[in-house]
Every structure is written in C-alpha cells, then in structure tokens.
C-alpha cells in the first residue's frame, strides 16, 4: 500500500516543555536565568568570590569601587562584591527552605480543611484568620524570640519557621478552594464508594490535582521570603553578623555611613531587588503557563 496522494503528513513538533516555556514566556525565562546565576553564585561562592567574606582590612575602610574592589568595601574593609556573592547563599537557603516549609504545611492544612469540611473546616479557617490578621513582623519576631537561635549548617532554623508561618494561611486558602472544587467531582465519590481510606483519597486523588496552585504559590513565595528575610535582618531580627546577608548589609554601620559611602547600600539593595524580581517574574510566567485563573 502506498500513501494516499495529495495528503501531506506534517509531523507534530513536540518541543521539550522547558523550551516551549522559554518561547512562550520570554520574561519568565529571563527570570529563570537570573535564578540560575544566583544558584551558581551561591554554590560556587568559595571559588567565584575574590576575597574572604569575613576578611577585615583596616587599610581599605569604606574604599570606593576600584579595580581591586569592584563594588567597594564596607566600614570593616570587607569586600562588598564578595559579601553579595556569599549573601546569595543565605538568601536562597532561607528563601527556598521557608517557602517549601510554609507551602507544604499550608497545603496539608488546606486539603484537610476542604476534605473533611464541616466543623473541622470552620475551626481551621478561624485559626487561619487569627494568623492572617497578625502583623507579619510581629509574628516573625515572636517566633524567633521564643525559639531562640538554632543554627544548623550556618542557617537559623527558627528564622525559617518565622518566615514560613505567615505564608501558611495564604497557601491554605488557595489550596483549600482548589480542593473544594475537586472534592465534588464524581471520581472522589467513586473512590469513597470503593472503600478507600481518607489518606489514600487525599494523597492519590486530591493532592495530584492541586499541584498547579501549589507550585505557583511556592515560586511566588520564594521572592517574598527573600524580601522578608532582608527586612528582618535589617531590623536586627533575622540573620546576624558576621554572616553575609543582603538585608544585614543595609543596616548597622551601613545605615550610618551610607551618605559618604553609597556603594555600601546601593549594591546589596540591587541584589535583593534583582533576586526577588527574578522569582516574581518566573512565578508569574509559571502561573500564566500552568493555570492563568489563579489569583495570588
């Protein structure tokens, strides 16, 4: 048998989803590129950074940007560029860990609230209301003060808990509303009739269907977490000296001397803005890509 004349089969071009994403969402791809650059800086800080992040140099206090110190030095003579590169480590670690923690806990609460409904749902919603109407800084402050410092691998675990807590009700609300819609679908009834346990229905039938909002919230919150960490560190409630962190670079001596040595604050602020910008851009495009109806 020969092919029918007059019909040309056009092969369907199946691009890799990553490439398709870049073509459709150039802004998102740009965000992703910045995120990748940050990851490389964070992982390879030991090799990339020109100086020691804690290296004090009293001969070069508040030195202006020059060939030796591209972005100048701070009031201890420490190289600003080096501290920004190392700061990416703190920002990414705190950003990712706290938003993963916050989103996972929020998603569990959201799904449970939607699935069980009734009195449990009502109680959970009230507790979430209390957390929502609490000023974020107070919440973060109280959590970090009560738990104290608990440093594992150079990262303060309690700071992560403090930043994750305000995210929980937001994620719970979005995931709950997605899960509520799914709960009414016939296949959930079918699963229940088949005698599956609650856990099985939740994890095998509901959770896979709320991953899109979950992923979107997660990426959106990394940027917010980095911003919150910077604000807390700025107020002296987050990361503490001498750990290199972007928010910390804007406070203390920097706040006193920045009118004489503006490079001390300009570049760390640019780093914070660029990082948060990249995550927001990527998160936004991911939402348009996966599920444009979700409102954050």
């Amino acid at each position: 048998m020969s092919a029918l004349p007059g019909i040309v089969y056009k092969p369907v071009v199946r691009r890799h989803p990553a490439i398709a994403f870049m073509r459709r969402q150039p802004l998102g791809a740009a965000g992703l590129a910045v995120i990748m650059a940050m990851v490389i800086a964070a992982v390879g800080a030991n090799w990339i950074a020109p100086y020691d992040p804690l290296g004090v140099d009293y001969a070069n206090l508040l030195a202006a940007p020059s060939a030796e110190h591209w972005l100048g030095t701070d009031s201890f003579g420490r190289d600003v560029l080096t501290r920004i590169i190392y700061g990416a480590r703190t920002a990414l670690a705190v950003g990712f860990l706290s938003s993963i923690l916050g989103s996972v806990v929020g998603a569990i609460i959201g799904v449970a609230s939607a699935y069980f409904g009734g009195r449990i749902d009502l109680t959970i919603q009230r507790v979430m209301d209390v957390i929502l109407s609490f000023p974020i800084i107070v919440l973060a402050l109280a959590v970090s003060a009560i738990l104290g410092k608990n440093i594992v691998f150079g990262i303060d675990v309690n700071l992560i808990v403090a930043i994750a807590t305000p995210m929980v009700p937001n994620v719970a609300r979005v995931v709950r509303s997605s899960a509520l819609a799914i709960r009414e679908l016939p296949y959930i009834d079918a699963a229940r009739v088949a005698g599956y346990s609650h856990l099985r229905i939740i994890f095998r039938h509901i959770v896979p269907n709320v991953t899109a909002p979950f992923l979107i919230m997660l990426t959106a919150f990394v940027g917010q977490a980095i911003l919150l960490e910077a604000s807390l560190s700025f107020l002296g409630l987050g990361v503490t000296e001498p750990t290199p962190a972007w928010g910390l670079m804007l406070t203390g001596a920097a706040a006193d001397f920045y009118q004489q040595a503006p490079w001390m604050i300009i570049f760390p602020g640019v780093a914070i803005s660029l990082a948060v910008f990249a995550f927001n851009l990527f998160g936004d495009s991911l939402r348009d890509w996966l599920d444009p109806k979700i409102k954050l």
């Binding site: 109407s133 009560i146 107020l235």
Partner: protein, 317 residues
C-alpha cells in the same frame, strides 16, 4: 443586611480573642522582661528588693493567666493600660504618633491609586504589546524593591542632587502643610511604589477578565467608542477586586511602616513598635498588635460592605 452585619461583628470576637490570647502568651514566653531591660545599664548594682518592688508595681509577680484576665478585663472596658516603660497611658503614647503614621499611609494610598489605575488599565487594554511589557516589568519591580532600601536611595538622591535633607521634626499638616509634606512625601513614595504595584497587577488581571464579557462585546457592537467602552463599562466593573486589595494593603501598611519609619527616622507607630520590642514593653506591644488586627478586620468588613453598595448583584443576608 442588619443580620449580616451582626453576624460579621460577632465573628470578629473569636478572631480578636485568638489574637489577644496568642500575643499575650507569646510575649510572656519571650526571655527577659521590662524590669531587666530597665536596670541592665546599672549592671549588678541593683538590689534584688528594688527589682522585686518594680515587678510588683508592674504586676509581673502574678501568674501569667491572672495577668491575662486582668488585662482582658481592662481591654473590654476600653482601658488599654499603661506603658511598662514610660508609665504613661498607652492611648496617649499611640495617640501622639498615630497622626504621622496614618498620614503616611493615606498619602501612600492616594499615590498608589493615582499610579495604579491608569497603568493597570493601559496594561490590560494594550495586552501583550510593548506598553504592557514595560508596565508589567515596572510593577513586578515594585514588588521586588524593598521599601526601606528605596527610602535610603531617595534620601541619597535628595542629598546628592539638591544637597537637601527632609526635615526631621514632625509638623502637623494643619499647622504647616508645606513643611509637613516636605517631610512625609518621601516615605509615602517609598511605600507607595510597592502598593501601586500590587494594585496595578490586580487592575490588569481583572480588567482582562471583564473585557472578555458579553456586555463589552455588546457595547462595542452598538458602535460605542473604545475609550467609552473601557472607561464606562469595563473599568467600573473591574473596580471591586481592586478595592479589596487596596483595603487589605492599607491594613497591612500600618504594620508595614515599621521598617520604613526606621529609615526616615519618623516617630510613628512603627518606630514605637520596634522600640517597644527592644524594651520588652509588653503592654504596649499587646495594644499595638490588637490595634493592627482590629484595623485589618474592620477594613475587611468595610470592603465587603462596599461591595454591596457598589454592586447591586451582591446582597448580604
């Protein structure tokens, strides 16, 4: 309507009680107290009787649940108590600072709406053109730039370009509007940028949704000019969610000014908050948290009620 209102106000009670309970016990769980902070500068030279005496005066010697009941009793009668640090009534301490913070928040809201409504509309109308891309980048940056850093940059720019620093002493708007505005417009700008970004994004996304509606097609089909379609039919219907975010952001501003007031050296609610934290002034902190929570919940309620006024389809029972 009245039933709905009573229902909502009744629902506020458990939430606020939860907030009060949470903040009270959280603060008590924190290490150190106000007496310790007060005498810290004097080293070990303070005799224990003096410390005991001071603790008794502030009621810190009683068990925590007893303190809570006593505090709640006062709050229910409208008495927030006295600052543990200054000894003055809390309403007085908050009152002298509220004007400043409230004014910055209101100015930031006005700025944000002035920027956001036109930008969000343009972005939606010219969807996916370069205008939209530019506005999207500007508004996503607004969410990314830390407002305290923006504040520092504003001060830096004023200093290098004009050799001028904003005045440090607060003058009431009603006494000397010029002096007042020249001090407060900068922090309002610093927080207003982020605020406008949030509103712009909401305006864009709801307007995009509304522009898909049948009545927009009808309006176009009957030959209405595009400008009128957008302004009279689309924008009006896109306002509801925009009002919601504006309200919520306003409520958060009262708490969010904490960092910005620090940068501009403003003696407002935010600075009071940070100072009270370092002084372990628990009575003051409880009052401030309650204030923010009450305003957050109240603004939420007002927003929901506005819905019913603005949209005849919304009826509350």
């Amino acid at each position: 309507m009245l039933r709905y209102l009573t229902h909502r106000i009744l629902l506020m009670i458990p939430t606020l009680f939860g907030v009060a309970l949470l903040v009270f016990f959280m603060l008590r769980a924190m290490p150190g107290d106000v007496v310790e902070v007060m005498f810290r500068s004097e080293g070990a030279n303070v005799p224990p009787q003096v410390i005991e005496e001071e603790k008794r005066r502030l009621g810190l010697d009683k068990p925590v649940p007893v303190q809570f009941v006593k505090w709640m009793g006062g709050v229910l009668q409208g008495d927030l108590g006295y600052s543990m640090w200054t000894g003055k009534p809390i309403t007085h301490e908050i009152g002298i600072r509220l004007e400043l913070s409230l004014q910055v928040a209101i100015m930031a809201t006005i700025l944000a709406l002035l920027i956001a409504l036109p930008l969000g509309t343009l972005s939606a109308v010219f969807r996916d053109t370069w205008i939209d891309q530019v506005i999207r980048v500007v508004s996503i940056s607004g969410l990314a730039v830390p407002s305290f850093w923006l504040g520092m940059i504003i001060i830096l720019v004023l200093l290098t370009l004009f050799q001028w620093n904003p005045p440090l002493i607060f003058t009431s708007f009603f006494e000397n509007p010029r002096e007042n505005l020249s001090q407060l417009i900068w922090p309002a700008l610093a927080v207003g940028y982020r605020y406008s970004a949030v509103v712009t994004r909401m305006m864009r996304s709801t307007l995009l949704e509304v522009l898909q509606e049948d009545y927009i097609r009808t309006a176009r089909a009957k030959g209405l000019r595009e400008r009128l379609v957008v302004v009279r039919h689309a924008m009006k219907n896109a306002m509801l969610p925009v009002i919601t975010v504006t309200g919520l952001e306003f409520a958060f501003l009262i708490g969010g000014l904490v960092v910005t007031e620090q940068v501009f050296n403003l003696n407002g609610i935010g600075k009071l908050f940070v100072d009270s934290v370092s002084r372990a002034d628990n009575t003051m902190l409880q009052a401030l948290v309650l204030l923010v929570s009450v305003s957050y919940i109240a603004i939420n309620l007002v927003v929901d009620l506005l819905y019913a006024v603005l949209d005849p389809r919304v009826r509350y029972r």
